[in-house]
């Protein structure tokens, strides 16, 4: 499964993309990312109580915001592309 990182999150991952074996769902992916790239990144990805996707993070699965799918329980598969952003805006 392909992971893409953007904006200031690249400062944590030091890469733009990574290939990983698809975890079962978004929640498992977040745990994997925390383990891989450190607690500081994990703090950004998760809510302060560590129970959900943090409100400063946007996770797109094939371009769809996890919030419009099944949130942290959204299932993942090998063919998915997951894009991870800090909340950004402008325009």
């Amino acid at each position: 499964m392909k992971l893409k990182f953007f904006a200031t999150y690249r400062d944590f991952t030091r890469c733009k993309e990574a290939d990983v074996t698809a975890p079962p769902d978004v929640w498992a992916l977040l745990q994997h990312l925390k383990g891989q790239y450190g607690d500081a990144f994990g703090d950004k990805l998760l809510t302060s109580d560590g129970t959900d996707i943090g409100c400063e993070t946007i996770i797109l699965i094939n371009g769809r915001n996890a919030g419009h799918l099944n949130g942290k329980d959204t299932p993942l598969s090998e063919a998915d592309v997951v894009s991870i952003f800090p909340v950004v805006a402008g325009g």
């Binding site: 893409k4 953007f6 904006a7 200031t8 690249r10 733009k16 400063e56 946007i58 797109l60 094939n62 371009g63 769809r64 915001n65 919030g67 419009h68 894009s83 952003f85 800090p86 909340v87 950004v88 805006a89 402008g90 325009g91």
Partner: protein
Amino acid sequence: MNAWVGTILRVDLASETITKEPLNLKDAHDYIGARGLGTKYFCDEVGPKVDALSPENKLIFMTGPLTGTGAASGGRYNVISKSPLTGTIGAANSGGYFAPELKYAGYDGIIFENASDTPVYLYINDDIVELRDASGLWGKTVYETTDLLKEENGESFKVSCIGPPGENGCLYSGVLNDKHRAAGRGGMGAVMGSKKLKAVTVRGTGSVSVARPEKFMEAIIDARAKLKAHPVGGAGLAALGTQVLVNIINESGALPTRNWRDGSIFDEADATGGESLADKYLVKNKGCFGCSIDCARVTVVPDGPFKSSGEGPEYEAGWSYGADCGVSDLAAICKASFLCNEYGMDPITLGATIACAMELAEMGAIPEEDIGFKLRFGDPHAIVHLTEAVGKNEGFGKILALGSYRLAEKYGHPELSMSVKKQEMPAYDGRAAQGMALEYATSNRGGCHVRGYMTSPELLGVPFKMDPLVTEGKAATLKIFQDLTALIDSAGICLFTTFGLGLPEIAAQYREAVGTDETDEEILFKGERVWNLEKHFNIAAGVEKDTLPPRLLREKLPSGPAAGRVAELGVMLAEYYELRGWDKDGVPTTEKDGATGIKYEAKVLCDV
């Protein structure tokens, strides 16, 4: 005096008469200021059928009550006139430092009437207000004009001016202040040029006082703290600027590509995004008066064929010259965008007009000899060359200067102009964000993203998340956003404050500045009043109905999360009109006019 300084300058450019008149406080109360108040003055004084480039059209610079007060991002003004591009009411908004200076000189706004025979500029030094000869400035760029006026009058003077495209009638030429801040859209520069008015330069040593200073201070401290704490209004925009949006909009399948022909995923988007800009060319960030967000970019392309420096590019320009033209060379995008500031042109319309020309040329609809070379999508040299051609009014640039609608019509394909009411839509595909589709169709100044900004909930999840692919709930949210945006623009603050603030914080600053006890809802309702007045003007002006280019209504997106989708406008539009209290054709009804208290006087309703 309650956030206003109390005087409007009226400048008759034909007779060279300058009068100072008291601000109409009743209208200032009802229409807030800046965009709303300027529109009210305009509608009372100018007929809707006026030829936008004739002396009978007027040009209004108007500040808001919060301009120059210390309110968060409170440094803005609007330039208001009938738009020569769209035929709608035109109101273009700009930040920088010019508008507070105008208030400190003692003027809330300026109304320019008629036209001068020879180039002039308006000199304002507190009480001294004079029209001066600008023959030596005519033909100069925005940068040159600004430098020359500062040299002549002193570094402390602020300058708002047009470049050669404004003089030459480019229908999307802007009015630029502080060199890089643009009242950019709708061709306000062309109106100014038609009046032979090159610039306004101002120095003010006064101040603005607010009605309830202590409570006002509390309101701004609260607002500024909330902005600082917000991930976007705090560190986010300062770090990567607006261009950071390229990737998220692209990943969401909503970045229109090659004149919206090839769907909305641009494979090379990352090379053009805010991350690449920061890596390669960003020198530092910068802000406008009273702003802590500091979203502006100071940028240098140090070498190569597109060696250049300036401010930007902003997201919309990065898109119009980037994905929309199929160009991935960020240096070329930077240079084209800088040229737009230097010459004074709207980069959204210009980039999108070049994209339209690229599609027409690839189809063989424009003969190669008209352009002078083989124009194709993806050519970085072409975007720079053609931008310069419009700036200098040379060759094919003369046709591009009329915008994509008139270009596409001339070559037999008006349907390929990606515009609404003849103004180009910006960088979000309404097929992938249905609320944006409704926003474009109903915007009172043609294709525009800052008359509501549905992108924020639909694609960015700020301040709440709305599924971009559904139509339910979009009309109601858009109505609130449109009214709120009208309030923000009219108050004299920056729309970006909504990346941290909501109606309560914005209304609180307004309330304490002007000294009113109106509720949040009553204050928001003034935004609705502004919106309805604009709509009335457009209807009286005979502006075409609310719709979208056929490409959005009929051509399905080929890929991405919105694959197979078109803009489902019909259903949203009917709901929207009903919520606004308008009839099924989108005409405000008498009953609702009563509610918003609009009296649209005979002058506007008859053909002048």
